[in-house]
Structure formats: C-alpha cells, structure tokens
Symmetry: C2
Subunit: 396 residues, 2 copies
C-alpha cells in the first residue's frame, strides 16, 4: 500500500481513560508517513455511516495530551449494535474514503462490529485492517486480565466505599451501595479495595455471579448489624434469584402492585427497595435507632476525573499497540492485556482473535467469591496494583 487513510471511533459507556486509547492510536499512526488522513468518527458507528468525521491528523500533540487526560469519549459514543446490513453501510463509507485501517474502541459489542465489518471487507476483497481496542468498566472481556477503564472505575468504587465505610463508622447504621455491572461482578468486588480488616466495610458483597436470596440476605445483614452495630453492603445492580429474576423486579411485584413502570437500571430503585425491605425486617442493636440508607453510585463510577495512573498508561499503551500491530501488517484482531507471571505487577499487551472476544462475557472467577456474600482478600490483592496511588487511613 502507498499512503492510506485510517479511522478511529469510540463506543459504549464512556470511561475515565477511553481518550487515552484514542490518542494512543492517533499519535502512533500520524507519526508514520505511510498515512494520509487519520479520521475520528463522531458517536461511533453512527458517525461513520452519517459521514460525521473529524480530521485528527493535524491537531497539536499538546491538545491530544489534554484530550487523553480528560474523561469520557471525546469523539462521542454510540449504543448502536450494528447487524450485517449496518456493517455493509460502514464498509462502503470506508471504501469511499480509501480508509484501510479501522480501530474501534469499546466492549464486546464493538469487537463484534469489528468482526462483521472485517467479514464484509474480506468478502469484497478490499484490504481493510480491523482492530478492536478494549474498553469497559465491567471488565467482562474474555482473554483479558483486565480492560482499560476498569481500573479507574474500580478505584472510584474502592475509594467511595472507603469514605462511606468511615462515614458509617461515625454514624452507625445499615448502608447499601449499589454498583454498576449487570452481568459481571468485577466492579462490585472492587468495593473491597480499601478494606484492611474484618471491622472494615463492606461487610457483605453481592455479585451477579452468585444467586441472591432475599431471606438469607436479611439474616446476613442482621447478624453483622447485631455484632458490629453497623453494616455496609455492596450490591451489584445485576443481582438475581435462582430463576434469574432481577431482585429489583421481584421486590416491586412482591411489595406494591402498581409500581410496574419504575425503571431499575439508571435509577435508585434497587437500593431504595432493598432499604425499604430491611427497614421492615431488621431489629436495631440495643440502644440504637434503626437506620438504613441506600446510595446508587451512578455515573461518577465511569467518569469521575480521578483516574488510576496505571489505567491511564495502559489505556494509552493499548491504543499505541493496536496501531503498531496494524502497521506491522496484521489484518485484524482484538488487543488484550494479560498479566505477566511473577511477584511484582507487570502487564503484557498482546493481540487475540476478534472471535475470542466478540459477543462473549467474562465473569468474576468463582474462586474470588466467598460463600455467595463476600469477596476474598486474593481479589483485593489482584486489584491493588491496577488502582494507582491509594490514600492511607488514620483512625482513633
């Protein structure tokens, strides 16, 4: 190939470091004279089919560095999950602009888009290099030890639980915090990041990989509330019963008939319903007034501007690696972070097949889940090197 054009886009829920990966791709490509234009598509695949592009070839490095350090997706994002017909439209747009390199930063749906676009280009005989650059706060991509975006979200969740645990220690009661991650418990498990001993919360952690039993939950909370005088609880938004029914939906149908239109995701409903349930079923320790509160941690989990420094570096490195891999001649793949064996933390960046990642969901390994209601110390040890500098905790 003589000079070629490239395009990069961002997809799915934003993270605190997705712009690092964007800049990693862009700065690597445009420093190579085999490239003509490096385009960014606004709002992911939607901008690709709508010709809503921005030329990233000549933006100053200073500006790129500033964008890299800024949370959320600077190009805009998209929730579209393209089928084959949609991908054919994408492909035509790429061919029209003589684009030979396509980088899509996102989760397993984005890997699937890369896979289908790659299939379409293969069928047409047009040489297009398609790379998926990983991003997700859920950490649910197969073949990865962890994904860019997860460590910063985990840092936020860990620090929020640390502050909230100290708050709960100062004004005792039962406190529920609902954490993102519908299908994978990695982010909810990150609530254990700053825990130092058994007195520290969270005292109970419920992930979607374990079946949630409301009666057992109530007993678990009562036991800790009675013995410690307080109880901090981490709950995944995706907790469900043995039949797979979401607990929020179950609480609604069990307790009030005409709440049917309450939305469970992106709302405080699950936490509020669990708090209402506990208020009716718990007994306060002697001398205490029953006090139950719930917070739903919300969007700050994915975009609060206090990213992990390790996550920032790795997200940038993953973007650069994608560009280098494509320039080296590889035709397609998904970039992955794996962990090197050894006592001190080291990440290996590699490339895996699109089909290994596309459409699959990785779950929190069973070995980290303790008795269906807690997370092991081994998990916190696995997480700690990813989370960046962490504060010390002083107590009286």
């Amino acid at each position: 190939m003589a000079t070629a054009n490239a395009i990069v886009a961002q997809s799915g829920g934003p993270t605190a470091v997705i712009n690092q990966s964007l800049v990693g791709v862009v700065e690597t490509l445009r420093n190579d004279d085999r490239f003509g234009k490096v385009f960014g598509a606004r709002h992911g695949v939607a901008g690709m089919v709508a010709d809503d592009l921005v030329d990233l070839s000549s933006i100053s490095q200073n500006q790129l560095d500033l964008v890299a350090a800024t949370p959320s997706a600077a190009l805009g994002s998209s929730r579209d999950k393209p089928d084959k017909a949609y991908c054919e439209r994408i492909f035509e747009k790429l061919r029209d602009r003589d684009i030979r390199y396509f980088f899509y930063i996102g989760g397993n749906d984005s890997a699937d888009t890369c896979r289908i676009v790659n299939e379409v280009s293969d069928e047409s005989g047009y040489e297009l290099r398609c790379f998926h650059v990983p991003k997700t706060i859920d950490n649910d991509l197969e073949k990865n030890d962890h994904t860019p975006g997860y460590a910063s979200a985990a840092r936020y969740v860990g620090l929020a639980f640390m502050g909230d645990n100290l708050d709960n220690r100062a004004l005792p009661g039962v406190k529920i915090n609902v954490v993102m991650g519908r299908h994978a418990g990695f982010l909810t498990a990150a609530s254990a990041l700053m825990r130092r001993d058994s007195e520290d919360g969270p005292h109970l952690i419920y992930v979607p990989e374990a079946t949630f039993d409301l009666e057992r939950f109530t007993r678990d909370v009562q036991e800790i509330y009675s013995s410690l005088g307080r109880c901090q609880i981490a709950v995944s938004e995706g907790i469900h019963d043995a039949d797979g029914q979401a607990i929020g939906a179950k609480l609604i149908s069990g307790e009030a008939d005409d709440h049917g239109n309450v939305q469970l995701s992106g709302s405080g409903a699950l936490g509020d319903l669990l708090a209402e349930h506990l208020k009716k079923n718990l007994t306060a320790p002697a001398g205490q007034k029953l006090r139950v509160r719930a917070d739903t941690l919300g969007y700050p989990q994915r975009c609060y501007p206090d990213a992990s420094s390790v996550d920032q570096e790795e997200a940038r490195a993953v973007g650069r690696f994608a560009a280098e891999t494509a320039m080296r001649g590889d035709l397609d793949g998904s970039i992955a972070i794996q962990r090197a064996a050894g006592d001190s933390y080291k990440a290996n960046i590699t490339v895996v097949r699109l089909t290994d990642v596309a459409g699959h969901t990785r779950h929190l390994p069973e070995e980290f889940i303790v008795d269906g209601r807690n997370i092991s110390t081994a998990f916190a040890n696995w997480l700690r090197p990813l989370a960046g500098d962490l504060p010390a905790i002083g107590r009286l």
Copy 2:
C-alpha cells in the same frame, strides 16, 4: 488556672476534613504545658454523657497527621440535638473530670449545644471555655464566607458534574443529578464549578432558595434538549413549590396513590420521580431516542477521599485558632472564616458570638441565582479558589 483538662468532640454529618479541625485543636492544646489531659468524646455529646472518652494527649504526631488526612469523623459523630437537661448532664460530666475547655466541631446545632452548655456553666459559676469549631458541607453558617467541609464537598460535586457533563456529551440525553443541601443551595450551585461556556452542563440548576415550578421546569428542559440535543440538570434535594411543599412528595401524591412510604431523603426517589415525569412529558430532538437518567450523588459528596487542599489547610487552621483563642483567655465563641478583600484569595479566621451562629441558617445569596434556574459565573469565581487543584479539560 493551673493545669486544666480539655475535651473535643465531632458532630453531625461527617466531612472530608473534619478530622483536620480535630487534630488542629488537639496538637495546639497538648503542646502547651498548661494542659493536663486532652480527651476526645466518641460520638459527640452521646460519648460525653456516656463517659465514652479517648485520651488524645499522647498519640504520636504521625498518627494525628494520618487521622487529619482521613475523611469522616475519627471520633465518631452524633445526630443528638441536646436540650437544656441534656446539656446539664454534659456539664456535670465535664465538671467531674475537671475539664475547663470544651471544643465542639459541627454545624449550627453544635453551636447551639455550645451555647447551652456555656449558659449552664455560667449559671453554676464554673469556669468553662466553650468553643464551636465550624463544619458543614452545606455552608449554611452565618458570619462565615464558607465553612470547613464545604469546599471539599463542592469540589466533589463540581468534578462529578464535569465528568457527567462529558459523559452526557458523548451519549446525549437528559441527565438529572440530585445534590445534598436541604435548605441551602451552596452545594448544588457548586455543580457550576467546572463549566467553561454555555455548551457545558449543568444547563439548569435548581436550588432550594428559588421556588420550583414543575411545569416551568419541564419547559426549561425541553427548550435546552431541543436546542443542544442534550440537557444536564442539577437539582437540590430540597426543592419545593411556592407553598413550601417538597417536590418529591408532590410528585408522589400526584402520580401514584400508594407510594406513601417512599422515603425522599437518603434515597434516589426525587431523581427517579423527576426522571419519570420528564419521560412522560418531553419530546426528543429529531433523530434521537428519548433518554432520561437520574443519579443521586449520595454520601460520596461528604466523604470521598479527594479533599480540596485549601479546605484541608483551613480546617486545620480553624481548629488551631479555636485552641489558641481559648488559651488566650476568651471564654466562648464560634470560629468563622471570612474572606479578605482584594483580588487574590485570602481567608481571615476570626471568632464570632455563639448566638450569631447557633440555630441560624445561612442561604445562598440571591445575587448568585439567575432567573430561578441557573447560577451566575460570579458564584463559580467565588468558589474556585476554595476547591484546590482542578483538572484541565480537553475536547475534540
């Protein structure tokens, strides 16, 4: 007086810097040889009457420094609002231990406790020096430019809105964030901290000092959603209608009859109800799907471990100043932060009368409120020097 004992306690909702004030008091007193013991009472006035004390005289300075930098109240806090009988019990406990100095770190209720205890000691002829050390994320103390704890909470709110605004820009829709502060709008106004131009959210800010009209709110949101394609909204948990009725309660009674037991404070209910209302009454801009989400920022506002450096220093200084003022011979008072005139920011720490602060609520000045639905740039300029180092924002 020969050697005297002192006691210090913490009250009300914890903040990210209340331990700085605690340590400021303790380190100043114990370095003076006029002091015997410096006690801390666990859980505020509750620990004072229950003799639940900790001797802070001999803890290492390293340990104190670590405690100072840790969020929440290290001694534990209390929601008790003592009446005169309660204060008489406090006074007796103080006299029994030959305690001549009492420092109470908290909001306007804590100032009132100091006032009553001081009154009781005056009546008995026992020389007791009673000082209130200010603390509140609400910034609602009279005679103060701002109070320790507010700047860190304001920093959190400002940064959370910054990240969320960029998130909303990436995935457009209507986003409501509910902010703490039942009666004073200072913390909700802090949502404007990182706003740079009119494209940046929050596009609408509703504080409790302005009457909230649901129909006008709906029109306001529709106007911005139609013109910008998105709308980020800051709402105080304390918004109310012209009759003083809380909007959450109004939405519940207006829309569903048997939700009576839903708790509005410490829950996601207000945000969820406003979101439900908007979903039924908004029209999405052409080509967009209607998307409305709500978050309730919750306890991370008061205890997320990323405090403002200015707030940390001022909270420490206020504690030291309280101890110095008492040692100088003053008998009672409330410490206050005022702002020196001039172009560059400078705080003056002073002492005011307990009765000037006790039981009063300061409100957001009207001059900062724009048209009942926004906050002026002058407010952000007032806030910025308090918030510590702030991140730069890069965009494409």
